[in-house]
Amino acid sequence: MDEEKFHTRLDQIEVTRRTVIETGTTALLLTALPRAALAAAPLDDNQPPPPPVTVELQINGRPYSLALDPRTTLLDALREHLALTGPKKGCDHGQCGACTVLIEGRRINSCLTLAVMHDGQSITTIEGLADHESLHPMQSAFVEHDGFQCGYCTSGQICSAIGMLAESQLGMPSYVTENLNQPAVELTDAEIRERMSGNICRCAAYPNIVAAIKQAAGMST
């Protein structure tokens, strides 16, 4: 399908931007590539794909059972197998943080771990944060403080910020914590910036991200 026809077809049906991304691009890719290649591209040799492995995951409170090529990263499992496209693939090497999700409440880079390694574990993505129609306080704070421009890093920033607040509430120190032996952490701007350094924002919305996090943490902004 050429691009013009693709858009003409889309014009005929009422779609949200998200459905376009999910149905449009995935459908196009699926016609061109076998499933295994999507999960673990690039396949560079003539080896047969390894036998699939069954993985049980609890994602955003719902159980899922998947049969996956063991090479499938958690990020690809979420995006390509479950259509949870909130976690973004930025660098795919753990350098940008756009793929950040929470595993058992802890933030990690979903691009640098295999889905099979998390069999039986509970995962929260950006899609699982809102309570029905009401946004998670961190999501609301990002909206209120304009904590984004293009929005590509935002789902990772928000998941990361939620994990970060949980870490600071446990008294976990950071590199800029002056006294390692103080039991409580005061979330200064410097602390927030250091703790969020694994999430890169090309639009440089950092001041607003810091403000949003402070609001969600119940601090004056």
Partner: protein, 326 residues
């Protein structure tokens, strides 16, 4: 990523037995290994997942030290109250490394065994003696700003990237291992990493299939502890130069000191000569300069990284000055 068969280990011996097979590779946090597998720098044919093994405890030893399980996550180790109180240099070094997301995943054993971030090692279209023994070191005449100035060879000038290991080197940590017959071994951290010499592809003294199960810290040494990391940006970057220092001093006189360096060498670098210069010495510029000269006596730059020589001197000077100021 090349295809592999995935196994989940149910005991350390089982993991060791699987890892000794050709193409076998242990995966713990996976933050470095999967990165390298995506680039096909690492191409294991079987991956042995050890994450479910009970190696995630931090226990006090009868000697008054700590025994850290190989699977203790970097973030948990940095936040442990005993580490924060008695091994501040280790806590700081851990917190200086990577990002919070990566530290939540990265393990103690994996951190020790992570590979260099040399650009040429990472790029399979370039020659590299570490990846392909007998090719050539592309960094020698290439971009070598991040490369080593100490302990290098004509075959390899890559640095060891860990911060944690530098602090452990200053603390004289011991690495516990197990093999496929269930035999345990204790390796002083000084002997874990090897210099490249003519075999840069052999990075550690571990035998095939030998698995790290724990790292033991001796009782905390006397003195104050500090980890100073100099890098291109304030956070989330590898060290250009880092110093793990433990200095025991009073009223302007140093009793003893331990100095370990990151970013300078193919392994966490300790300088006994520099430490000797500081024993029972006045805390002044002459002493600090003598220590820096001792560290850098055999230093050699390769062009882009020449700056590391004066940077190391100044960083050490600053660290010692800070630590001995009453």
């Amino acid at each position: 990523m090349r295809a592999f068969i995935y196994h989940r280990a149910d005991s350390p011996v089982h993991a060791a037995a699987a890892a000794i097979q050709p193409g076998g590779k242990i995966i713990a946090g996976g933050t470095n290994l999967l990165d390298l597998m995506k680039l096909q720098v690492e191409t294991p044919s079987s991956l042995i997942d050890i994450n479910r093994l009970p190696l995630d405890k931090i226990e006090e030893t009868p000697e008054g030290g700590l025994r850290i399980g190989a699977l203790v996550r970097n973030s948990d180790l940095a936040a442990d109250s005993r580490v924060r109180q008695h091994y501040g240099v280790l806590s700081r070094a851990l917190l200086a490394g990577a990002s919070a997301q990566l530290r939540n995943k990265a393990t103690t054993g994996g951190n020790l065994l992570q590979r260099t971030r040399c650009y040429y090692f990472y790029d399979i279209t370039k020659p590299c003696n570490k990846r392909k023994p007998g090719s050539v070191c592309a960094a020698l005449a290439g971009f070598n700003r991040i490369h080593a100035i100490l302990g290098t060879s004509e075959q390899c000038i890559a640095t060891h990237p860990s911060d944690m290991a530098v602090a452990m080197r200053a603390l004289d940590a011991k690495v516990e291992t197990i093999n496929d017959s269930g035999e345990n071994k204790i390796i002083p951290i000084a002997e874990l990493h090897r210099l490249p010499g003519k075999t840069p592809e052999i990075e550690t003294s571990l035998s095939p299939g030998e698995i790290i199960t724990a790292v033991t810290l001796p009782p905390p040494p006397p003195g104050v502890q500090l980890y100073r990391k100099v890098r291109d940006r304030a956070s989330y970057a590898f060290a250009l130069v880092s110093v793990a220092a433990i200095v025991d001093s009073a009223r302007g006189r140093i009793r003893s000191a331990r100095l370990a360096f990151g970013g300078l060498a193919p392994k966490p670098w300790r300088s006994p000569q520099a430490e000797q210069e500081l024993v029972d010495a006045p805390a002044n510029t002459t002493t600090f300069n003598a220590a820096a000269e001792a560290v850098l006596k055999d230093a050699r730059g390769f062009g882009d990284n020449d700056f590391k020589i004066p940077l190391t001197r100044r960083t050490l000077h600053r660290v010692l000055d800070e630590m001995t100021r009453a």
